[in-house]
Symmetry: C2
Subunit: 412 residues, 2 copies
């Protein structure tokens, strides 16, 4: 029996990713295939690098996507930099600090893990003091952790890392193109993001960038792939990177004019990334951050006016994710299911200790728009009423509308 034709129901996606994609990106992705060494394609690769540098706010030469989802980029960065026994300090404030730990551990790192309570972030001084004690080769940390909806200020940490000659590697998957991420100004040595959040491109690529401090390590650990030139086993580099697919030293050769054969670049995904970056730069980074702040403000005001409360330290709230406390006695998953099944709107639950405690509502990329925020508030109210939650009926949407209309008056 043959499978049915693909059928995709309409959805409003208000999660921390994957989020909705601008139809112009999908149109670009329906273009026909080009060979990987076709000059039209290699120039597209080059132009993608140019655009990525701008979006990542860096002058680094190396800025390209890894062909895999966000964690492929994180692993590429960590496994290319970390060697067996290297000391890595990981200040973790959520589930994705756990992911960094998981990956660094598999790279053979000697890990120094510090925690802060979920819902808060670190006082940079705590990390700086810890660095002095541990003297790590690398500090690896998350910028915006979607699991708790917090954003860690990085500027002071970056400055201290540079002063102490420590490498700073940052997972900025949840923030790039939705909040300000200043790779160079904050002294970030290696930074990874993903396509399926504020870049608003389908999941499957992990754009990253790194500077010459990291490139120097790659050069030392480099080994040329067998079978490309001769098939004999070459002298073994004992510091060789453990992965072939995620070996940044080989990936950068493929993204250089040498175009040394590695994988076959994911043609259609690259079309999508190119177009997604183009739309971001057309909108303007500052304008885009402001759009994210505006919709976040409307959502937050709406949630609060409805009578719900927000989770976590307000000062360090991640602007692209809003964590809402699930009212006492309410089955959070039942609310989410009804939102999806009856209204076609998706919001997220959370991980580990926060599962069942909070909902997470994303406002990222193309999903981050007035219509989506208003429809989500209206629908969430209706679903909560069906779940017998006492609310300030009607007030959520009105409060959000106030934000949008005041904004309009301000800009007149």
């Amino acid at each position: 029996m043959l499978a049915n034709r693909l059928q995709v129901p309409a959805r409003t996606i208000m999660t921390p990713g994957p989020v909705e994609v601008d139809p112009r990106v999908l149109q670009a992705m329906s273009s026909s295939i080009l060979g990987q060494f076709d000059p039209s394609f290699t120039s597209l690769m080059n132009e993608t690098m140019v655009q990525l540098r701008k979006v990542l706010q860096t002058e680094n030469h190396w800025a390209f996507p890894v062909d895999g989802t966000s964690r492929a980029g994180i692993e590429a960065m960590l496994c290319s930099v970390i060697e067996e026994g290297d000391k890595v300090l990981i200040p973790s404030f959520g589930r994705f600090g756990g992911l960094l730990t998981e990956i660094a551990e598999r790279c053979g790192a000697q890990i120094h893990l510090i925690h802060c309570e979920w819902g808060s972030v670190f006082d940079p001084q705590v990390i700086i003091e810890e660095m002095k004690k541990v003297r790590p080769k690398v500090v690896a940390m998350v910028h915006g952790d979607t699991s708790t909806g917090r954003m860690q200020p990085l500027e002071e940490i970056g400055k201290a890392c540079r002063e102490q000659d420590v490498l700073l590697i940052v997972d900025a998957v949840a923030t790039v193109a939705g909040a300000d991420v200043r790779t160079d100004e904050w002294n970030i040595d290696g930074l990874i993001t993903g396509t399926q959040k504020c870049l608003s491109v389908p999941a499957g690529m992990a754009p990253l960038t790194y500077n010459d401090r990291i490139e120097a390590i790659l050069q030392e650990r480099k080994s040329i792939e067998k079978g490309l030139v001769s098939d004999s086993i070459s002298a073994n580099n004992s510091r060789k990177i453990r992965s072939n697919y995620l070996d940044l030293s080989q990936l950068q050769d493929y993204w250089s004019p040498a175009r040394l054969n590695h994988h076959t670049e994911a043609t259609t995904m690259l079309y999508g990334l190119y177009e997604g970056l183009r739309l971001i730069l057309e909108e303007g980074l500052e304008e885009r951050f402001e759009r994210h702040r505006l919709n976040e403000r409307a959502l937050v005001k709406g949630i609060e006016a409805m009578g719900l409360s927000l989770f976590g330290d307000a000062e360090h709230k991640l602007p692209t994710v809003t964590c809402v406390n699930i009212p006492e006695g309410v089955d959070g998953d039942s609310v989410r299911s009804m939102l999806l099944d009856e209204f076609g709107i998706e919001i997220a639950s959370s991980f580990g200790p926060l599962h069942g405690k909070i909902w997470r509502i994303g406002t990222m990329g193309y999903s981050c728009q007035q219509r989506n925020v208003l429809l989500t508030l209206a629908s969430l109210e209706a679903v909560l009423l069906r779940h017998k939650v006492k609310l300030h009926v009607g007030e959520g949407v009105q409060a959000a509308l106030d934000v949008y209309q005041n904004k309009e008056r301000l800009s007149l």
Copy 2:
């Protein structure tokens, strides 16, 4: 300055991949995004597994794509199975045997590499004798090596592996959906393919399958990801898989009803894979293999009638790639460039010792059609004439037409 809108010139792609994609696949890929845990999406994941089993000719439960290009799938399989010091026998007959060696070496394998001359394949008895001497845990080999255009018969080798309790892992990237690949019947324990060749889906996914013999190893090496349940460092499994992104034990949990969070499945690529598999099964596997044989025959007859010669052992020719000897004194890359620039047709060069010696013409998936074969022959003739090559002018296309018209008469 803003980048230009994406512009993709029309191409006829006659390489060993990436190849052209059926417009219906691109249409499916322009569908809007679904969340990764949306029931509409998880049921699409399940249906993709059902279709994959059929295309891979297996009853294995596990059959799913890795989100990365073909070598991501190869590395996932090898790094999940191979542990430090494991003996791996790699019979290599081309560049992609070299890639298996490269990856297995990084996994810490103790490698036993045997070669045969490029352009030929192994007598299975040679491999079977070597297995008896080496007593490896794994035999890893390529089914169809595009670098030399040869296809290795696997049936006897698979039988011997099972008898000697050795695992057989096969890179079938160049053959699945273009030539017969009988995973179960040939006793293949783990098999990897890629989307950008005969599956005719854009590059970026590596479908694979494995049986319970491999699953047993995964279960022993499994470690649960930190941060999913609790953030404390769990007891270390010393046999832990070195990669997180490519850890099949975690990937299978994500592809199971547990849906344990790992990466965010590449939404749009999965749409493409689903639709690509559907089109393959709609055509029928046998019918598809016959289409590949027919177009190969027409291409080969045309090339020979033109006065060119083929590279390698004819008996073991890979039906999806035809290697043509570059005539003495001709600059192969100049011919390829002129074909691309003037005619919009792409053929491939080769690697290492064969670069400059052969052209490789692919007939894979959607690119494998009469129109493409005829236009390639006509254009190649014209370009070779411009390069002052003596040919039997006009005869190449006529010979190919004869094949197609005889075929039509036969099927009347």
